[in-house]
Symmetry: C2
Subunit: 246 residues, 2 copies
Protein backbone atom coordinates (compact mmCIF):
# COMPACT_ATOMS: atom_id res chain seq x y z
CA UNK A 1 0.00 0.00 0.00
CA UNK A 2 1.22 3.47 -0.86
CA UNK A 3 0.72 6.22 1.67
CA UNK A 4 -1.05 9.23 0.13
CA UNK A 5 1.03 12.41 0.16
CA UNK A 6 0.20 15.07 2.74
CA UNK A 7 -2.20 17.61 1.31
CA UNK A 8 -0.77 20.80 -0.13
CA UNK A 9 -0.99 24.25 1.39
CA UNK A 10 -3.04 27.10 -0.04
CA UNK A 11 -1.30 30.48 -0.19
CA UNK A 12 -3.44 33.60 -0.54
CA UNK A 13 -1.02 36.15 -1.91
CA UNK A 14 -1.58 39.90 -2.13
CA UNK A 15 0.03 41.41 -5.24
CA UNK A 16 -0.27 45.08 -4.33
CA UNK A 17 -1.72 47.91 -6.42
CA UNK A 18 -0.20 47.16 -9.83
CA UNK A 19 3.49 48.10 -9.93
CA UNK A 20 5.28 44.71 -10.05
CA UNK A 21 7.93 46.07 -7.65
CA UNK A 22 5.23 46.56 -5.01
CA UNK A 23 4.90 42.86 -4.36
CA UNK A 24 6.36 41.96 -0.98
CA UNK A 25 9.54 39.92 -0.73
CA UNK A 26 7.43 37.15 0.79
CA UNK A 27 4.94 37.17 -2.09
CA UNK A 28 7.73 36.84 -4.67
CA UNK A 29 9.38 34.00 -2.75
CA UNK A 30 6.16 32.02 -2.44
CA UNK A 31 5.09 32.59 -6.05
CA UNK A 32 8.49 31.39 -7.24
CA UNK A 33 8.42 28.24 -5.11
CA UNK A 34 4.80 27.18 -5.65
CA UNK A 35 4.21 24.27 -8.04
CA UNK A 36 0.80 25.72 -8.99
CA UNK A 37 -0.07 29.40 -9.45
CA UNK A 38 -3.77 30.27 -9.73
CA UNK A 39 -5.34 33.59 -10.69
CA UNK A 40 -8.64 35.10 -11.77
CA UNK A 41 -9.11 36.44 -15.29
CA UNK A 42 -11.90 37.40 -17.61
CA UNK A 43 -12.54 34.78 -20.26
CA UNK A 44 -10.22 35.34 -23.21
CA UNK A 45 -7.89 37.66 -21.26
CA UNK A 46 -4.67 37.04 -19.37
CA UNK A 47 -5.97 39.13 -16.50
CA UNK A 48 -4.47 41.89 -14.38
CA UNK A 49 -3.10 39.62 -11.66
CA UNK A 50 -1.12 37.50 -14.13
CA UNK A 51 0.19 40.67 -15.76
CA UNK A 52 1.46 42.07 -12.45
CA UNK A 53 3.51 38.93 -11.64
CA UNK A 54 4.86 38.42 -15.17
CA UNK A 55 8.43 39.34 -14.29
CA UNK A 56 8.42 37.09 -11.23
CA UNK A 57 7.24 33.85 -12.87
CA UNK A 58 10.00 31.28 -13.23
CA UNK A 59 8.25 29.18 -15.88
CA UNK A 60 8.38 26.13 -13.60
CA UNK A 61 4.89 26.45 -12.13
CA UNK A 62 1.73 25.00 -13.55
CA UNK A 63 -0.62 27.91 -14.19
CA UNK A 64 -4.26 27.64 -13.16
CA UNK A 65 -6.28 30.47 -14.70
CA UNK A 66 -9.77 30.81 -13.21
CA UNK A 67 -11.96 32.41 -15.87
CA UNK A 68 -14.85 34.52 -14.66
CA UNK A 69 -18.17 33.85 -16.41
CA UNK A 70 -19.39 36.69 -18.62
CA UNK A 71 -21.93 38.46 -16.43
CA UNK A 72 -22.45 41.89 -17.94
CA UNK A 73 -25.95 41.03 -19.13
CA UNK A 74 -27.20 40.41 -15.56
CA UNK A 75 -27.44 42.81 -12.60
CA UNK A 76 -25.07 41.84 -9.78
CA UNK A 77 -27.95 41.11 -7.40
CA UNK A 78 -30.05 39.14 -9.89
CA UNK A 79 -30.73 35.46 -9.10
CA UNK A 80 -29.11 34.41 -12.39
CA UNK A 81 -25.87 36.25 -11.62
CA UNK A 82 -25.68 34.84 -8.10
CA UNK A 83 -26.24 31.30 -9.40
CA UNK A 84 -23.68 31.64 -12.20
CA UNK A 85 -21.08 33.11 -9.87
CA UNK A 86 -21.64 30.48 -7.17
CA UNK A 87 -21.11 27.74 -9.78
CA UNK A 88 -17.92 29.45 -10.97
CA UNK A 89 -16.55 29.58 -7.42
CA UNK A 90 -17.49 25.95 -6.85
CA UNK A 91 -15.61 24.87 -9.97
CA UNK A 92 -12.60 26.97 -9.03
CA UNK A 93 -12.59 25.42 -5.55
CA UNK A 94 -12.70 21.91 -7.06
CA UNK A 95 -9.77 22.68 -9.39
CA UNK A 96 -7.68 24.02 -6.51
CA UNK A 97 -8.66 21.19 -4.17
CA UNK A 98 -7.58 18.55 -6.69
CA UNK A 99 -4.06 20.02 -6.62
CA UNK A 100 -4.04 20.29 -2.82
CA UNK A 101 -5.29 16.71 -2.47
CA UNK A 102 -2.43 15.55 -4.70
CA UNK A 103 0.01 17.22 -2.32
CA UNK A 104 0.75 20.26 -4.46
CA UNK A 105 0.83 23.72 -2.86
CA UNK A 106 -1.24 26.34 -4.68
CA UNK A 107 -0.37 30.04 -4.70
CA UNK A 108 -3.58 31.95 -5.41
CA UNK A 109 -2.92 35.50 -6.56
CA UNK A 110 -5.00 38.46 -5.38
CA UNK A 111 -4.65 42.05 -6.56
CA UNK A 112 -4.13 44.43 -3.65
CA UNK A 113 -4.65 42.64 -0.34
CA UNK A 114 -6.30 39.19 -0.33
CA UNK A 115 -8.70 39.91 2.57
CA UNK A 116 -9.81 43.39 1.48
CA UNK A 117 -12.65 43.19 -1.09
CA UNK A 118 -10.83 40.29 -2.79
CA UNK A 119 -12.39 37.55 -4.93
CA UNK A 120 -9.88 35.29 -3.24
CA UNK A 121 -12.05 35.38 -0.10
CA UNK A 122 -14.87 33.47 -1.80
CA UNK A 123 -12.52 30.55 -2.46
CA UNK A 124 -10.80 30.89 0.91
CA UNK A 125 -14.07 30.56 2.84
CA UNK A 126 -14.84 27.33 0.97
CA UNK A 127 -11.36 25.82 1.48
CA UNK A 128 -10.11 26.97 4.86
CA UNK A 129 -11.80 24.33 6.98
CA UNK A 130 -10.16 21.50 5.02
CA UNK A 131 -6.69 22.75 4.07
CA UNK A 132 -3.72 24.51 5.60
CA UNK A 133 -3.65 28.14 4.49
CA UNK A 134 -1.04 30.90 4.64
CA UNK A 135 -2.18 34.46 3.99
CA UNK A 136 0.26 37.07 2.70
CA UNK A 137 -1.04 40.63 3.08
CA UNK A 138 -0.40 43.09 0.28
CA UNK A 139 -0.31 46.82 -0.38
CA UNK A 140 -3.92 47.81 -1.02
CA UNK A 141 -5.01 49.51 -4.21
CA UNK A 142 -6.03 52.56 -2.19
CA UNK A 143 -2.54 52.88 -0.64
CA UNK A 144 -1.08 52.76 -4.14
CA UNK A 145 -3.48 55.52 -5.18
CA UNK A 146 -2.70 57.85 -2.31
CA UNK A 147 1.02 57.33 -2.93
CA UNK A 148 0.36 58.27 -6.58
CA UNK A 149 -1.53 61.36 -5.41
CA UNK A 150 1.34 62.08 -2.98
CA UNK A 151 -1.12 63.18 -0.30
CA UNK A 152 -1.12 62.08 3.35
CA UNK A 153 -4.48 60.42 4.00
CA UNK A 154 -4.96 60.29 7.77
CA UNK A 155 -3.49 62.32 10.61
CA UNK A 156 -3.69 61.81 14.38
CA UNK A 157 -7.32 61.13 15.33
CA UNK A 158 -8.72 61.22 11.79
CA UNK A 159 -11.44 58.69 10.98
CA UNK A 160 -11.12 57.00 7.59
CA UNK A 161 -14.17 55.82 5.70
CA UNK A 162 -13.84 53.32 2.86
CA UNK A 163 -17.10 53.09 0.93
CA UNK A 164 -18.35 51.53 -2.28
CA UNK A 165 -19.78 53.66 -5.06
CA UNK A 166 -22.59 51.12 -5.31
CA UNK A 167 -24.25 52.56 -2.18
CA UNK A 168 -27.38 54.70 -2.71
CA UNK A 169 -26.82 58.46 -2.98
CA UNK A 170 -28.34 59.34 0.40
CA UNK A 171 -26.27 56.67 2.17
CA UNK A 172 -23.08 57.90 0.54
CA UNK A 173 -23.74 61.52 1.52
CA UNK A 174 -24.55 60.59 5.10
CA UNK A 175 -21.42 58.48 5.51
CA UNK A 176 -19.16 61.06 3.86
CA UNK A 177 -20.40 63.78 6.22
CA UNK A 178 -19.22 61.79 9.25
CA UNK A 179 -15.72 61.03 7.97
CA UNK A 180 -12.51 63.02 8.27
CA UNK A 181 -10.91 61.17 5.36
CA UNK A 182 -12.53 58.93 2.78
CA UNK A 183 -11.89 56.53 -0.08
CA UNK A 184 -14.69 55.73 -2.53
CA UNK A 185 -14.14 52.60 -4.60
CA UNK A 186 -16.15 50.79 -7.29
CA UNK A 187 -16.84 53.87 -9.38
CA UNK A 188 -17.58 52.60 -12.92
CA UNK A 189 -21.20 53.31 -13.75
CA UNK A 190 -21.66 54.86 -10.28
CA UNK A 191 -19.30 57.73 -11.03
CA UNK A 192 -21.85 60.50 -11.69
CA UNK A 193 -23.77 59.59 -8.52
CA UNK A 194 -20.57 59.52 -6.44
CA UNK A 195 -19.56 62.96 -7.70
CA UNK A 196 -22.93 64.35 -6.58
CA UNK A 197 -22.50 62.71 -3.17
CA UNK A 198 -19.04 64.23 -2.72
CA UNK A 199 -20.35 67.65 -3.70
CA UNK A 200 -23.41 67.40 -1.44
CA UNK A 201 -21.16 66.42 1.48
CA UNK A 202 -19.13 69.59 0.89
CA UNK A 203 -15.96 67.71 -0.04
CA UNK A 204 -15.54 68.40 -3.76
CA UNK A 205 -12.66 70.87 -3.32
CA UNK A 206 -10.64 68.25 -1.39
CA UNK A 207 -11.43 65.22 -3.59
CA UNK A 208 -8.86 63.63 -5.88
CA UNK A 209 -9.58 61.16 -8.68
CA UNK A 210 -6.92 58.47 -9.22
CA UNK A 211 -6.91 55.92 -12.02
CA UNK A 212 -4.46 52.99 -12.22
CA UNK A 213 -2.36 54.31 -9.31
CA UNK A 214 1.30 53.04 -9.40
CA UNK A 215 0.78 51.63 -12.91
CA UNK A 216 2.46 53.02 -16.01
CA UNK A 217 -0.51 54.99 -17.29
CA UNK A 218 -1.70 56.35 -13.92
CA UNK A 219 -3.90 59.45 -13.82
CA UNK A 220 -4.22 61.81 -10.83
CA UNK A 221 -6.57 64.77 -11.16
CA UNK A 222 -8.67 66.91 -8.79
CA UNK A 223 -12.21 65.55 -8.97
CA UNK A 224 -13.50 69.07 -9.64
CA UNK A 225 -11.43 69.14 -12.84
CA UNK A 226 -12.57 65.77 -14.18
CA UNK A 227 -15.26 66.65 -16.67
CA UNK A 228 -16.30 63.25 -18.02
CA UNK A 229 -18.10 60.46 -16.16
CA UNK A 230 -15.89 57.57 -17.30
CA UNK A 231 -14.12 55.64 -14.54
CA UNK A 232 -12.68 52.15 -15.07
CA UNK A 233 -12.40 49.36 -12.51
CA UNK A 234 -8.97 50.48 -11.29
CA UNK A 235 -10.02 53.93 -10.17
CA UNK A 236 -11.12 55.58 -6.96
CA UNK A 237 -11.71 58.89 -5.26
CA UNK A 238 -9.60 60.04 -2.30
CA UNK A 239 -10.56 62.68 0.23
CA UNK A 240 -7.43 63.22 2.35
CA UNK A 241 -7.83 64.04 6.05
CA UNK A 242 -6.80 67.35 7.54
CA UNK A 243 -6.27 66.30 11.17
CA UNK A 244 -4.22 67.76 13.95
CA UNK A 245 -0.68 68.63 12.94
CA UNK A 246 1.93 69.79 15.45
CA UNK B 1 33.92 77.90 -9.70
CA UNK B 2 32.56 74.53 -8.72
CA UNK B 3 29.00 73.71 -9.65
CA UNK B 4 26.98 72.55 -6.60
CA UNK B 5 25.70 68.98 -6.90
CA UNK B 6 22.03 68.48 -7.72
CA UNK B 7 20.01 68.10 -4.55
CA UNK B 8 19.23 64.60 -3.34
CA UNK B 9 15.86 62.89 -3.46
CA UNK B 10 13.77 62.05 -0.41
CA UNK B 11 12.27 58.55 -0.35
CA UNK B 12 9.33 57.91 1.98
CA UNK B 13 9.39 54.15 2.38
CA UNK B 14 6.67 52.00 3.89
CA UNK B 15 8.05 49.02 5.83
CA UNK B 16 4.85 47.05 6.29
CA UNK B 17 3.40 45.64 9.50
CA UNK B 18 6.50 44.13 11.12
CA UNK B 19 7.55 40.92 9.36
CA UNK B 20 10.78 41.85 7.51
CA UNK B 21 9.65 39.77 4.52
CA UNK B 22 6.62 42.05 4.12
CA UNK B 23 8.69 44.92 2.78
CA UNK B 24 8.06 45.41 -0.92
CA UNK B 25 10.75 44.61 -3.46
CA UNK B 26 10.91 48.33 -4.24
CA UNK B 27 11.42 49.27 -0.57
CA UNK B 28 14.32 46.84 -0.22
CA UNK B 29 15.96 48.07 -3.42
CA UNK B 30 15.73 51.73 -2.38
CA UNK B 31 16.92 51.12 1.18
CA UNK B 32 19.91 49.20 -0.15
CA UNK B 33 20.89 51.91 -2.62
CA UNK B 34 20.33 54.99 -0.45
CA UNK B 35 23.46 56.67 0.95
CA UNK B 36 21.49 57.84 4.01
CA UNK B 37 18.78 55.88 5.87
CA UNK B 38 16.71 57.83 8.40
CA UNK B 39 14.24 56.46 10.96
CA UNK B 40 12.34 57.47 14.07
CA UNK B 41 13.20 55.97 17.44
CA UNK B 42 12.61 56.63 21.09
CA UNK B 43 15.67 58.08 22.80
CA UNK B 44 17.96 55.29 23.94
CA UNK B 45 16.25 52.66 21.74
CA UNK B 46 17.04 51.34 18.27
CA UNK B 47 13.39 51.65 17.34
CA UNK B 48 10.91 49.36 15.61
CA UNK B 49 11.55 50.65 12.09
CA UNK B 50 15.30 50.00 12.34
CA UNK B 51 14.58 46.54 13.73
CA UNK B 52 12.30 45.62 10.82
CA UNK B 53 14.93 46.49 8.18
CA UNK B 54 17.88 44.93 10.01
CA UNK B 55 18.31 42.04 7.56
CA UNK B 56 18.16 44.39 4.57
CA UNK B 57 20.83 46.91 5.64
CA UNK B 58 24.04 46.59 3.65
CA UNK B 59 26.23 48.46 6.13
CA UNK B 60 27.14 51.01 3.45
CA UNK B 61 24.54 53.64 4.34
CA UNK B 62 24.95 56.42 6.84
CA UNK B 63 22.26 55.95 9.48
CA UNK B 64 20.27 58.96 10.65
CA UNK B 65 18.26 58.07 13.76
CA UNK B 66 15.65 60.70 14.65
CA UNK B 67 15.08 60.45 18.39
CA UNK B 68 11.66 61.42 19.66
CA UNK B 69 11.64 63.69 22.70
CA UNK B 70 10.39 62.10 25.91
CA UNK B 71 6.80 63.27 26.14
CA UNK B 72 5.02 60.94 28.53
CA UNK B 73 4.77 63.66 31.19
CA UNK B 74 2.63 65.90 28.94
CA UNK B 75 -0.82 65.29 27.44
CA UNK B 76 -0.70 65.05 23.64
CA UNK B 77 -2.79 68.20 23.23
CA UNK B 78 -0.94 70.30 25.82
CA UNK B 79 0.88 73.40 24.54
CA UNK B 80 4.17 72.06 25.92
CA UNK B 81 3.89 68.81 23.98
CA UNK B 82 2.97 70.55 20.74
CA UNK B 83 5.93 72.93 21.11
CA UNK B 84 8.39 70.16 21.94
CA UNK B 85 7.21 68.01 19.06
CA UNK B 86 7.27 70.87 16.54
CA UNK B 87 10.88 71.60 17.54
CA UNK B 88 11.76 67.92 17.12
CA UNK B 89 10.27 67.83 13.63
CA UNK B 90 12.06 71.06 12.71
CA UNK B 91 15.41 69.62 13.80
CA UNK B 92 14.74 66.37 11.93
CA UNK B 93 13.87 68.33 8.79
CA UNK B 94 17.11 70.31 9.08
CA UNK B 95 19.18 67.13 9.46
CA UNK B 96 17.54 65.55 6.40
CA UNK B 97 17.77 68.77 4.36
CA UNK B 98 21.50 69.05 4.98
CA UNK B 99 21.99 65.64 3.34
CA UNK B 100 19.67 66.49 0.44
CA UNK B 101 21.41 69.83 -0.11
CA UNK B 102 24.74 67.99 -0.30
CA UNK B 103 23.31 65.84 -3.09
CA UNK B 104 22.70 62.73 -0.99
CA UNK B 105 19.43 60.82 -1.32
CA UNK B 106 17.72 60.03 1.98
CA UNK B 107 15.52 56.96 2.52
CA UNK B 108 13.18 57.75 5.40
CA UNK B 109 11.61 54.63 6.90
CA UNK B 110 7.99 54.46 7.96
CA UNK B 111 6.30 51.52 9.66
CA UNK B 112 3.22 50.38 7.75
CA UNK B 113 2.37 52.82 4.97
CA UNK B 114 4.05 56.25 4.95
CA UNK B 115 0.87 58.26 4.25
CA UNK B 116 -1.44 56.43 6.68
CA UNK B 117 -1.09 57.85 10.22
CA UNK B 118 2.69 58.03 9.72
CA UNK B 119 5.11 60.35 11.53
CA UNK B 120 6.85 60.54 8.17
CA UNK B 121 4.06 62.85 6.98
CA UNK B 122 5.11 65.62 9.36
CA UNK B 123 8.56 65.74 7.76
CA UNK B 124 7.19 65.23 4.26
CA UNK B 125 4.89 68.26 4.51
CA UNK B 126 7.85 70.44 5.50
CA UNK B 127 10.14 69.12 2.74
CA UNK B 128 7.99 68.41 -0.30
CA UNK B 129 7.90 71.92 -1.71
CA UNK B 130 11.71 72.12 -1.87
CA UNK B 131 12.89 68.61 -2.76
CA UNK B 132 12.10 65.79 -5.14
CA UNK B 133 10.22 63.03 -3.31
CA UNK B 134 9.37 59.42 -4.16
CA UNK B 135 6.73 57.68 -2.04
CA UNK B 136 6.72 53.91 -1.68
CA UNK B 137 3.44 52.57 -0.27
CA UNK B 138 3.58 49.73 2.24
CA UNK B 139 1.39 47.01 3.70
CA UNK B 140 -0.53 48.72 6.51
CA UNK B 141 -0.41 47.48 10.08
CA UNK B 142 -4.12 46.73 9.91
CA UNK B 143 -3.68 44.50 6.83
CA UNK B 144 -0.98 42.61 8.71
CA UNK B 145 -3.38 42.18 11.62
CA UNK B 146 -6.29 40.87 9.56
CA UNK B 147 -3.94 38.44 7.82
CA UNK B 148 -2.83 37.29 11.29
CA UNK B 149 -6.48 36.89 12.29
CA UNK B 150 -7.09 35.05 8.98
CA UNK B 151 -10.45 36.80 8.59
CA UNK B 152 -11.74 38.51 5.43
CA UNK B 153 -12.44 42.14 6.38
CA UNK B 154 -14.66 43.61 3.67
CA UNK B 155 -17.04 42.03 1.16
CA UNK B 156 -18.89 43.51 -1.80
CA UNK B 157 -20.52 46.76 -0.70
CA UNK B 158 -19.23 46.71 2.89
CA UNK B 159 -18.22 50.05 4.37
CA UNK B 160 -14.98 50.02 6.36
CA UNK B 161 -14.43 52.42 9.25
CA UNK B 162 -10.94 53.07 10.59
CA UNK B 163 -11.14 54.98 13.87
CA UNK B 164 -8.79 56.00 16.63
CA UNK B 165 -9.33 54.83 20.19
CA UNK B 166 -8.65 58.40 21.28
CA UNK B 167 -12.16 59.48 20.18
CA UNK B 168 -14.74 60.10 22.92
CA UNK B 169 -16.97 57.16 23.85
CA UNK B 170 -20.15 58.56 22.30
CA UNK B 171 -18.38 59.37 19.04
CA UNK B 172 -16.91 55.88 18.85
CA UNK B 173 -20.28 54.21 19.44
CA UNK B 174 -22.02 56.37 16.86
CA UNK B 175 -19.39 55.70 14.18
CA UNK B 176 -19.26 51.95 14.89
CA UNK B 177 -23.05 51.66 14.50
CA UNK B 178 -22.84 52.98 10.94
CA UNK B 179 -20.04 50.69 9.76
CA UNK B 180 -20.18 47.20 8.26
CA UNK B 181 -16.54 46.52 9.13
CA UNK B 182 -14.22 48.42 11.46
CA UNK B 183 -10.67 48.79 12.66
CA UNK B 184 -9.94 50.60 15.92
CA UNK B 185 -6.37 51.72 16.36
CA UNK B 186 -4.46 53.59 19.09
CA UNK B 187 -5.74 51.46 21.95
CA UNK B 188 -3.22 51.86 24.79
CA UNK B 189 -4.84 53.70 27.69
CA UNK B 190 -8.07 53.93 25.66
CA UNK B 191 -8.61 50.18 25.69
CA UNK B 192 -11.30 49.96 28.40
CA UNK B 193 -13.30 52.76 26.76
CA UNK B 194 -13.01 51.13 23.32
CA UNK B 195 -14.26 47.82 24.68
CA UNK B 196 -17.36 49.56 26.08
CA UNK B 197 -17.94 51.28 22.72
CA UNK B 198 -17.71 47.97 20.83
CA UNK B 199 -20.14 46.36 23.29
CA UNK B 200 -22.60 49.29 23.17
CA UNK B 201 -22.55 49.15 19.36
CA UNK B 202 -23.54 45.47 19.54
CA UNK B 203 -20.31 44.25 17.97
CA UNK B 204 -18.50 42.47 20.82
CA UNK B 205 -19.20 38.96 19.53
CA UNK B 206 -17.56 39.80 16.17
CA UNK B 207 -14.57 41.75 17.51
CA UNK B 208 -11.02 40.39 17.41
CA UNK B 209 -8.05 41.77 19.34
CA UNK B 210 -4.68 41.52 17.52
CA UNK B 211 -1.33 42.43 19.01
CA UNK B 212 1.91 42.63 16.98
CA UNK B 213 0.29 41.08 13.86
CA UNK B 214 2.85 39.33 11.54
CA UNK B 215 5.57 39.65 14.20
CA UNK B 216 7.10 36.74 16.04
CA UNK B 217 5.12 37.16 19.25
CA UNK B 218 1.75 38.01 17.66
CA UNK B 219 -1.43 37.53 19.67
CA UNK B 220 -4.91 36.98 18.16
CA UNK B 221 -7.84 36.59 20.56
CA UNK B 222 -11.59 37.28 20.46
CA UNK B 223 -12.11 40.61 22.22
CA UNK B 224 -14.75 39.01 24.43
CA UNK B 225 -12.07 36.63 25.78
CA UNK B 226 -9.48 39.30 26.55
CA UNK B 227 -9.87 39.92 30.24
CA UNK B 228 -7.20 42.55 30.94
CA UNK B 229 -7.09 46.14 29.74
CA UNK B 230 -3.46 46.20 28.60
CA UNK B 231 -2.86 46.99 24.94
CA UNK B 232 0.50 48.13 23.58
CA UNK B 233 1.12 50.50 20.67
CA UNK B 234 1.18 47.67 18.10
CA UNK B 235 -2.34 46.44 18.75
CA UNK B 236 -5.78 47.00 17.32
CA UNK B 237 -9.32 45.69 17.24
CA UNK B 238 -10.86 44.26 14.06
CA UNK B 239 -14.56 43.87 13.34
CA UNK B 240 -14.76 41.91 10.08
CA UNK B 241 -17.58 42.66 7.65
CA UNK B 242 -20.31 40.18 6.80
CA UNK B 243 -21.38 41.49 3.39
CA UNK B 244 -23.07 39.87 0.44
CA UNK B 245 -21.55 36.53 -0.53
CA UNK B 246 -22.56 34.65 -3.67
Amino acid sequence: MTVPPPTGRLYGIGLGPGDPELLTVKAVRLIQSAPVVGYFAKAGRRGNARGIVDRWMTGNAEELPLYYPMTTEHAFDSPVYVTVLAAFYQNAVAAIASHLDAGRDVALLSEGDPLFYGSFMHLYMRLRSQYKVTLVPGVTGMAGCWAAAAEPMTWGDDTLLVASGTLPLSGLIERLRGADAAVIMKLGRNFAKVRIAVQEAGLLSRAIYVERGTMENEIVVPLAEKTDDTAPYFSLILIPGQGRRP
